[in-house]
């Protein structure tokens, strides 16, 4: 008996609430589910579905000395239950309704009553004990509201603030049927209002993208704050003092911000700007006022934690040193025009050199500048670098004087050495080579690009020059920018250069140049390398590489010195200076964007750090480490004008992310391929947010995102697999991209953009709606595939792609009618091959294509086992575009668009097709071949009533059952027995804008139907 059941959901978080009396718990509403997390260790501690259908939009907890009652609302639904019932797994709270959409709730001071504000500006007072309506109140104005807030005050007053759809905020009191103030000042709909706990202040935000603070004692506007780049959805007060207060806000612009209002200047000043979500919309926020911890929940399903009290954490440092302060502290007067030219952070302190060759050490926890000595050689030109693990700093001047200094934990110089290198005319760069050994290695480059690299090893005991070796440059005018050496396993030295050149040297062959790669990776200067994995046996080294222009790669080389790209991506409008991987295998990048420095968590898609520093062109230093809890510690030092600023974070008691979510906008298409282990699959999903994501799908339905590919320029249309290793994706602007999935033992899988199909027009404006592939093999080995793609202008194109030649050759270019073709599938009967199209005109159309393909290929096998084999003697050069074969069938099935279809072979000569339409209907049809002639018949059609809305998801889960989902958020299982569509089971999904479905079949036999739109829900079939 086939049965369906929802097992997991990830999607928009629309409600968040922190507790006042319990320190480490935050509640979140994700769809109809209530979830609670401990934000100290980051674990989910509670989960229960609260409402049958409605999404949770608000959570309010009544607390005295401990939490007593919890009220939850969403849409027209409401429930209130004792807090202690959260521990009772069998308890199912009862769903109530006030007959109208609820905007806000508030308990009375004694907790016996609950006030509910509806969108028609009515407050329903409810007795909590009996859950009966006690009274309804209004202010005489019942226009529609977008937001509201109720506050119970100690003196018994209950204030209501109602945010209308046109400019005004109505302030009134429960029990007094008149309006106290109609606060004017905003433009457009008011999206949130929040009354301070004392009832003195009100903060509000509207469609005008401003935040306003009001004095409720007199109804006066106190201040307006500007900063958000789109609509603001939520506001909270915190840090209330006699001088003023702070505000935490969240917005459609994917950011959360912190604002300060102080009475003395009467301004709302923006203090912080956190880019924490992707796509669009941060729906919910809250602040734990006692701990000063903020939370946001996004449309991307991410739940982010913010330490709003960072400066009080142990270890936090924020210093700023002007030249005069440095002179004063160090007792060394600065000459006119003298500046700090260079510095190196060695962990326990910082060595700095001035433009007159003065050396300083910044000691005492980076607070005090001490003059060390002056060496005029280092006056006009000095490069500082060093070795983090041993607190050794190396300085070089133009003429090859090298100074080596070793420091102890209190930043005292404990050892010093000097030597001279003479093989280079002038020193251009001094690069500390990253290594997985304790060795201290340097790569020296000359200012004269014709000269070779110098590779130096410094003796760790004596700090003298142990060895020196010239390295052959792969070509002239190469300028090195970074280097990494794998001593432990492969013995490869990789040097990154300007103009995206990478040189490979072999330690096992006396550091000879063994390969160099020009334009293999794109971009400009290679800014950084980081180890990923190495295998000594097969001499395989895989590293992360970042490029200054914002690109990054995972590249792999081996004993044959072939460089393979395992992942490639780009951060838009950012300069990337480096990357690292955290203890939980999240991949982080850092660098500059416009006027600030950032650290970006690429795995979980949020900005970890943002420091306004003025932009990329300056002296700077970034050092990071991880504490025992695996939390990031960093120190960022930069020069702004002539001032040196330092920022170091403290030990955070909280995790940063409680849920990492998925797409920030609607998911449009998904494909499932095998994972690295038997128990998991890989999900490749394409979203309206223009990204393609690679995630791990577990058997329990949970989804963990690994990589977010940003190469597409518009919202995705289709994502399908070619086979387990290759996936295609399509979008507007004629974009049809081929991705390769890379799986390696012990490593997270990753994907790279393998090839793109070149648009045929110079101004591509067509959407590639869908495509299907059929594999091409030679001697049983995959060598390529044939792909048919359909377009928004009714075109159909067929290509042959060959992995080795890495090119798409066009075989067919033709047109159906003028309507948009939405889907295409290859159908094979015996030795005949067809392309089956589905379009906006509601037709299923079948063209014969085998005759065209058979010019170049032989068909082997039939039905879904069919593959192609190139004909002997046929060369890629012979390929030319021709028309489709004969139109075999053009049958009207649905009144308008066929939004989705799935089919399966029922016999070697027949397929069954299930279609879902924009006309709310579903149909079961067959396509049968008999004596070379095709016949199409619709056997069972459920018009309109199959769903209340567009049917967008059709997935045959077996030969006898089809899973259907529609925009009315219904998930239904239909039986196909006796060629008749019969409803078997009816479910509901909280995924709105339900738009695509994918089936994952696990080795255990478990089948999961993934239904996606605004969120993804996993259904066990």
């Amino acid at each position: 008996m086939t049965h369906i059941e929802e097992v997991n959901h990830t999607g928009p978080i629309c409600a968040l609430t922190a507790l006042r009396t319990s320190d480490n718990i935050v509640f979140a509403g994700e769809g109809p589910n209530l979830k609670a997390y401990n934000f100290e260790h980051g674990k989910k501690v509670f989960q229960k579905q609260i409402f049958a259908r409605n999404k949770i939009h608000g959570i309010k907890i009544y607390e005295s000395t401990a939490p007593v009652n919890i009220a939850i609302f969403g849409g027209k639904s409401l429930t209130v239950f004792p807090y202690e019932k959260l521990n009772d797994t069998d308890y199912q709270p009862k769903e109530y309704s006030v007959g109208d959409w609820i905007l806000a709730v508030e308990f009375s001071i004694d907790g016996t009553k609950l006030y509910c504000l509806t969108t028609h500006n009515v407050v329903c007072t409810i007795d909590v004990e009996s859950m009966r309506l006690v009274a309804t109140d209004n202010c005489g104005w019942k226009s529609i509201l977008y937001s509201g807030c109720i506050r119970s005050l100690d003196d018994g007053r209950v204030i209501v603030c109602s945010g209308t759809v046109m400019n005004g905020i109505l302030v009134w009191r429960v029990g007094e049927p008149n309006i106290k103030y109609n606060l004017k000042g905003h433009e457009g709909s008011i999206f949130d209002v929040e009354i301070s706990s004392s009832g003195k202040y009100l903060i509000s935000c509207s469609d005008d993208r401003s935040i306003k603070a009001w004095n409720l004692a007199n109804g006066q506007l106190m201040a307006t704050g500007w900063g958000h780049g789109a609509r603001i959805w939520g506001l909270s007060f915190f840090d209330m003092t006699s001088e003023g207060f702070k505000v935490f806000s969240c917005s459609e612009d994917c950011t959360a911000r912190v604002w300060r209002y102080s009475k003395n200047n009467a301004q709302l000043i923006q203090l912080k700007d956190y880019l924490s979500h992707t796509g669009r919309n941060v729906w919910s926020e809250c602040v734990n006022e006692k701990l000063k911890v903020g939370f946001t929940g996004g449309a991307d399903g991410k739940l982010k934690v913010y330490d709003l009290n960072e400066s009080s954490r142990s270890g936090y440092l924020s210093h700023s040193f002007t030249l005069s302060a440095i002179a004063l502290q160090s007792g060394s007067a600065m000459k006119k025009g003298e500046i700090i030219k260079s510095y190196y952070d060695f962990g326990s302190g910082m060595l700095a050199v001035s433009s007159t060759g003065k050396f300083f050490v910044v000691e005492s926890n980076f607070s005090h500048w001490k003059f060390l000595f002056q060496n005029f050689n280092f006056g006009n030109f000095a490069i500082l670098t060093g070795f983090q693990s041993s607190s050794v700093v190396v300085a070089a001047d133009k003429l090859g004087h090298i100074l080596v200094l070793k420091f102890d934990d209190s930043a005292e110089v404990v050892q010093k050495n000097e030597f001279q290198i003479s093989d280079l005319s002038r020193i251009g760069n001094l690069i500390s080579v990253q290594t997985n050994d304790a060795k201290m290695l340097l790569l020296v480059d000359s200012q004269n690009p014709k000269e070779q690299f110098l590779f130096l090893e410094i003796d760790p005991v004596s700090l003298t020059l142990a060895t020196q070796k010239s390295l052959v440059k792969p070509q002239e005018k190469i300028i090195a920018s970074t280097a990494i050496i794998d001593f432990r396993d492969t013995g490869f030295l990789v040097v990154g250069c300007r103009y995206c050149m990478i040189a490979l040297y072999d330690l096992k062959d006396n550091l000879s140049l063994c390969a160099y790669y020009k334009n293999k990776v794109k971009g400009d200067t290679v800014s950084h390398f980081e180890f990923r994995s190495a295998n000594a046996e097969i001499r395989e080294l895989s590293i992360y590489a970042t490029m200054k222009d914002g690109r990054y790669y995972i590249v792999k080389t081996n004993k044959e010195h072939c460089l393979e790209i395992l992942a490639d991506n780009r951060l838009q409008k950012r300069f990337v200076e480096g990357c690292f991987v955290d203890p939980s295998e999240h991949f982080l990048l850092y660098g500059f964007k416009s006027t600030y420095f950032f650290v970006w968590d690429e795995t979980r898609q949020y900005e970890v750090l943002r420091v306004e520093c003025g932009g990329p062109h300056r002296q700077w230093s970034f050092k990071h480490s991880y504490d025992t809890n695996g939390r990031l510690r960093y120190r960022f030092i930069f020069t702004r004008a002539t001032e040196i600023q330092l920022l170091q974070n403290g030990k955070s008691p909280y995790v940063e992310v409680l849920e990492s979510g998925l797409h920030g906008r609607e998911v449009r298409s998904m494909a499932v391929v095998d994972g690295c282990s038997k128990g998991e699959k890989l999900l490749i999903s394409g979203g309206e947010d223009t990204t393609v994501k690679l995630s791990v799908l577990a058997e329990n339905g949970s989804i963990k995102q690994l990589w977010t590919q940003r190469q597409h320029g518009s919202g995705l249309q289709s994502v399908h697999k070619v086979n387990n290793d290759y996936v295609l994706s399509s979008s507007a602007r004629e974009e049809l991209y081929l991705w390769k999935i890379h799986r390696e033992n012990g490593q997270n899988p990753c994907m790279s953009l393998y090839r793109t199909v070149k648009p045929l027009s110079t101004h591509p404006d067509l959407r590639v709606m869908d495509f299907d592939t059929i594999e091409v093999k030679q001697d049983e080995i995959d060598i390529g595939f044939v792909v048919a793609a359909v377009y928004s202008n009714s075109q159909i194109r067929v290509w042959y792609f060959n992995y080795k030649e890495n090119t798409f050759k066009i075989l067919v270019e033709d047109r159906y009618r003028s309507c948009c073709v939405l889907g295409v599938h290859f159908v094979v009967f015996d030795d005949k091959m067809y392309a089956m199209l589905s379009s906006t005109n509601g037709n299923i159309t079948v063209y014969e294509v085998g005759s065209v393909l058979q010019r170049y290929f032989r068909m082997v096998g039939t039905n879904d086992k069919c593959y192609l084999v190139p004909r002997a003697g046929s060369s890629m050069d012979d390929f030319s575009a021709s028309n489709l074969g004969v139109l075999a069938c053009d049958q009207h099935v649905h009144q308008s668009s066929i939004k989705d279809l799935d089919f399966s072979y029922t016999s070697p000569d027949a397929i069954q097709i299930v279609t879902g339409g924009d006309d709310n209907g579903i149909a079961l049809s067959t396509l049968v071949i008999s004596q070379g002639k095709l016949s199409f018949n619709t056997l069972s059609f459920i018009p309109d009533v199959a769903a209340a809305s567009t049917v967008t998801c059709v997935c045959l889960v077996s030969i006898t059952h089809v899973l259907i989902a529609s925009v009315d958020q219904k998930v239904r299982l239909w039986s196909l027995d006796n060629h008749t569509l019969t409803l078997v089971e009816d479910g509901y999904t909280t995924v709105a804008d339900t738009g695509c479905i994918a089936l994952a079949k696990f080795i255990s036999g478990q089948k999961l139907g993934l239904i996606a739109g605004a969120g993804v829900s996993s259904w066990r079939v």
């Binding site: 500007w226 309507c819 939405l822 005109n841 809305s949 009315d968 958020q969």
Partner: protein, 306 residues
């Protein structure tokens, strides 16, 4: 409708500019009319949420083009200002206010309306459940006025989002009209949730007299009307609301009319001298509430200040 690079993408957008419609939605009403012959014998029309006025334009053209149309009256109501349209009386007013109703009846010379329509949509937030609810409220506001002005047998047409609770609305409308149909014109993209309810044959609820009052919310207006809407019960129990699925009709000739999802090449003759030339919009959009925020952003005034 502004000037934008989307020109090429949507054929109706371009055709609307060429033919002088203020928005491409004019085609949607015209296609609905083709299917249902909505304007036959119609002389009293109320166009709600009318700005920028493309439906009024279509109504004006279709109704005043016919014989015996001298007596016809079209009233277009919106909170936003609208530039004048031939044969159309524009009212800048709130459709839920009783004064608006009075004015409409005054313009109609006391007669009731044959046809009430609304192409209104709220500014969508992206929260699907909230947007669908607000849209339903907008339809109810329009329906509220319709029940006050529509003559028996009259027609009501409104834009709907076919979301998760659309069947509730169908259920409630079926109490008030002989026929309730969900129609999707070809001019409305299939990728959009938008479609139109066409409600034919108004049947006032027996014994129920509609009355607009500012202290009565739309929700309350429909209470007691007996159309199956959920109520506020003293025990806060959840009313089981009736769900009904309306028949679906796709309008616009499948092969004769343009497909709004398809990409069409720009006609050579339209492109005249400059193929990339984009046509000026028929009516400039009204200033958005965030105009000031945009100006500040341009000046770089929105950054965190330290």
């Amino acid at each position: 409708m502004g000037k934008s690079s989307k020109d090429k993408r949507d054929i109706y957008y371009r055709k609307a500019k060429e033919q002088g419609w203020r928005a491409r939605s004019a085609f949607k009403l015209l296609q609905l009319n083709e299917e249902f012959d909505l304007f036959k014998g119609v002389t009293r029309v109320v166009d709600l949420c009318a700005a920028p006025g493309s439906w009024s334009q279509a109504l004006s053209k279709e109704i005043f083009g016919k014989p015996h149309s001298d007596d016809a009256r079209i009233v277009a109501v919106d909170l936003q200002p609208m530039s004048p349209i031939d044969h159309v009386t524009t009212l800048q007013a709130d459709i839920t206010h009783p004064k608006t109703l009075e004015k409409i009846l005054e313009i109609f010379g006391g007669e009731k309306a044959d046809f009430v329509c609304s192409d209104g949509a709220p500014d969508v937030t992206g929260l699907h459940d909230l947007d669908e609810y607000i849209q339903a409220q907008l339809i109810l506001s329009a329906l509220q006025l319709a029940t006050c002005v529509l003559k028996v047998g009259g027609t009501f047409v409104a834009k709907v989002f076919r979301g998760r609770d659309i069947d509730l609305l169908y259920g409630q409308l079926s109490y008030l009209f002989d026929k309730v149909i969900c129609a999707k014109p070809r001019a409305s993209r299939s990728s959009s949730l938008e479609s139109f309810i066409v409600c034919i044959g108004y049947r006032p609820r027996p014994g129920w007299k509609p009355e607009l009052r500012p202290d009565v919310s739309t929700e309350e207006f429909f209470q007691g009307m007996g159309i199956g809407r959920a109520k506020l019960n003293d025990d806060l129990s959840v009313d089981d609301e009736e769900r009904k699925i309306a028949p679906f009709i796709a309008c616009g000739d499948l092969n004769g009319s343009y497909d709004s999802d398809a990409t069409y090449p720009i006609d050579k003759k339209d492109a005249s001298s400059d193929s990339k030339k984009s046509l000026d919009p028929v009516q400039m959009p009204t200033a958005p509430p965030y105009k000031k925020a945009l100006e500040m952003k341009r000046k770089g005034e929105l950054r965190v200040t330290k």
